[in-house]
């Protein structure tokens, strides 16, 4: 009996063992450890000292930078995700219909997504938006006086939103694949009935694409909450100017690895985990009201 049980399960668990080990040592263990650390004061020199809810209390009631970091991150997510998805969907729809040579466009539009995470691009972006950088040069052609986009706290975040928009390639590819799946005869029938284009969009494209939009929305929201390298490089590692680029991840990094407040940083990490978890949960719980999958209907 037991022998047979082992024989039946052994191959599965043997192949799964690297992942299982990784899951316990690199995911579950550290998550629980950081939950524990979030209730301690820990500077890595002396042992962690239990402080109860003090970290969370300080965070929510007295830490201005925590609220600033939340504000920056939420503003970024609220702007960058829709901007990127709208761009991705519009371009995907243009590429989907009636063009034979989409390969080259697809490649050009995707390339920035692949390069975008690199430090080289973050460095480039800083220079593009400098006082005497390319963006202001272009504006000058149109007679508009430029700004110091990066060093002005009112505009610095927008440079990162534009960087996010520039990288619309991977949701675009996913939209393209989704658009391919919509049967052509639906549009042809609508065309014969004289349905206007925008109505075809709201009545055919959007509903049938809902699962793909949902997928992209969840993926991009999670990704955007995790934004780090570009914000870190463009803000010189500090969230400057005036904390306007103090992304949650940048704040966490500084608390942990610059000031060695590991306990407090762990509490920040758990708040980030809960925020992302909550967003994912909301997306999935509400999805049944606006996402209908093709195979549910037959």
């Amino acid at each position: 009996m037991i022998k047979r049980f082992i024989a039946r399960n052994a191959p599965g668990y043997i192949f799964l063992s690297p992942w299982l080990l990784g899951f316990f040592l690199l995911a579950l263990g550290p998550i629980l450890a950081s939950l524990y650390l979030s209730f301690t004061k820990y500077d890595m020199v002396s042992d962690p000292r239990w402080v109860g809810f003090a970290n969370y209390e300080y965070m929510f009631t007295r830490d201005r930078r925590f609220w600033k970091a939340l504000e920056v991150t939420f503003t970024y997510v609220a702007l960058a995700v829709p901007a990127r998805l709208i761009m991705a969907l519009s371009v995907a729809m243009l590429l989907d219909k009636g063009l034979r040579t989409i390969g080259l466009y697809r490649a050009i539009f995707y390339l920035p997504s692949l390069l975008g995470a690199s430090i080289a691009i973050a460095i480039l972006w800083r220079q593009l938006f400098e006082q005497n950088g390319v963006v202001n040069q272009v504006l000058a052609v149109f007679g508009i006086e430029g700004l110091a986009w990066i060093t002005n706290p009112d505009t610095s975040l927008y440079t990162l939103v534009i960087l996010a928009m520039w990288q619309f390639g991977s949701p675009m590819l996913i939209f393209l694949a989704g658009l391919r799946g919509i049967p052509r005869d639906l549009y042809e029938a609508a065309e014969i009935d004289g349905t206007p284009k925008w109505r075809q969009f709201t009545r055919i494209t959007l509903p049938l694409l809902a699962p793909v939009i949902f997928f992209n929305l969840v993926l991009q929201t999670i990704e955007s909450f995790k934004t780090f390298s570009s914000a870190f490089i463009i803000s010189n590692g500090t969230g400057a100017p005036a904390d306007s680029l103090l992304f949650f991840t940048v704040y966490l990094f500084n608390e942990a690895f610059k000031f060695f407040r590991m306990g407090y940083a762990s509490a920040l990490a758990w708040v980030l985990l809960l925020i992302i978890g909550a967003f994912t949960a909301i997306a999935f719980l509400t999805s049944k009201y606006w996402v209908h999958y093709e195979n549910e209907r037959d």
């Binding site: 599965g12 690297p18 050009i108 430090i119 909450f225």
Partner: protein, 286 residues
């Protein structure tokens, strides 16, 4: 009457197509301009980089590359070797461990399979920042800080669940009869994995390898935390050193080294575009 209608429609469609091309070319120019600007600036003399929209340099400063290569306390040869070591080991680790897990999830029967699969999917959303601090403490205690072990060992433990997901999607499409036939012939599960599943899954493995390569090559956060000594730096960390030296007017050199750091990515993109595009489209669907 009919034919003139058709002609009119044809003409309208052609005009629409031309309009679309004009628009798409416009977008392409905007998308590519920053990259060309970077490339152009890397060849320009220092005083020409800013304040002009012209891309063509008045004279090509190849020194930006030769001087930039050795501008930091260590030469870029070291940084490229370091990046190459980390990248190659990470790709190998990802391919082995993730294909193992994906094979178990998609082709083998065992108790708790769907439970673990759900756990695996949940790890996809966990931000690296959440596990970072305990991992750092642990690796520090092991004496692994300032070595490549914290960057590479997790890859051999299938720490990037995205690749498991991608491979599961692919493995599931392969006909079950293959495994069953092989099983009847007395093949062990490992033999089936090695001789049947892997050879049939080269596109999926290729996609995973390319993404893994590019992401490791560009990775910044983990090296930033774990590598302290400049002789261990990877290319992205080295590029950041240029920023610290800003004001010493070495923009040309910084851009030159930035361009070089992107070259491998662009080459892989051009060579394997089809795999990359298909990989994104299929992992996103289903």
């Amino acid at each position: 009457m009919l034919t003139s209608c058709a002609l009119q429609r044809d003409r309208r469609e052609r005009n629409g197509r031309i309009l679309k091309h004009v628009f798409l070319i416009g977008v392409s120019v905007v998308m590519l301009y920053p990259l060309f600007w970077l490339l152009a600036s890397s060849f320009k003399p220092e005083n020409e980089i800013f304040g002009s929209l012209t891309l063509w340099p008045s004279s090509f400063q190849v020194e930006n590359y030769t001087k930039g290569w050795t501008a930091l306390p260590m030469s870029f040869t070291t940084f490229y070797i370091n990046s190459a070591i980390v990248t190659v080991l990470s790709v190998i680790g990802n391919l082995i461990s993730c294909s193992f897990a994906a094979y178990a999830f998609s082709r083998l029967q065992f108790t708790g399979r769907s439970f673990f699969f759900a756990l695996m999917m949940m790890t996809l959303m966990i931000p690296y920042h959440v596990v970072l601090i305990p991992q750092y403490v642990q690796f520090l205690k092991l004496g692994w800080v300032d070595t490549y072990l914290p960057l590479v060992v997790p890859r051999f433990l299938a720490s990037e669940a995205f690749f498991i997901f991608l491979m599961v999607q692919f493995f599931r499409q392969l006909p079950r009869e293959l495994d069953e036939a092989a099983m009847i012939d007395g093949c062990s599960p490992f033999k089936i994995y090695w001789a049947i599943i892997l050879p049939l899954s080269l596109p999926a493995m290729g996609t995973a390898a390319i993404f893994s390569l590019i992401w490791t090559w560009e990775d910044f956060l983990a090296p930033l935390i774990y590598l302290n000594d400049i002789k261990n730096y990877t290319v992205p960390l080295a590029l950041r050193l240029f920023l610290d030296q800003e004001g010493q007017s070495a923009y040309g050199q910084m851009f030159a080294m930035s361009v070089l750091s992107l070259v491998p990515v662009v080459i892989f993109f051009v060579l394997f575009q089809k795999l990359i595009v298909r990989g994104i489209a299929t992992s996103g669907m289903k």
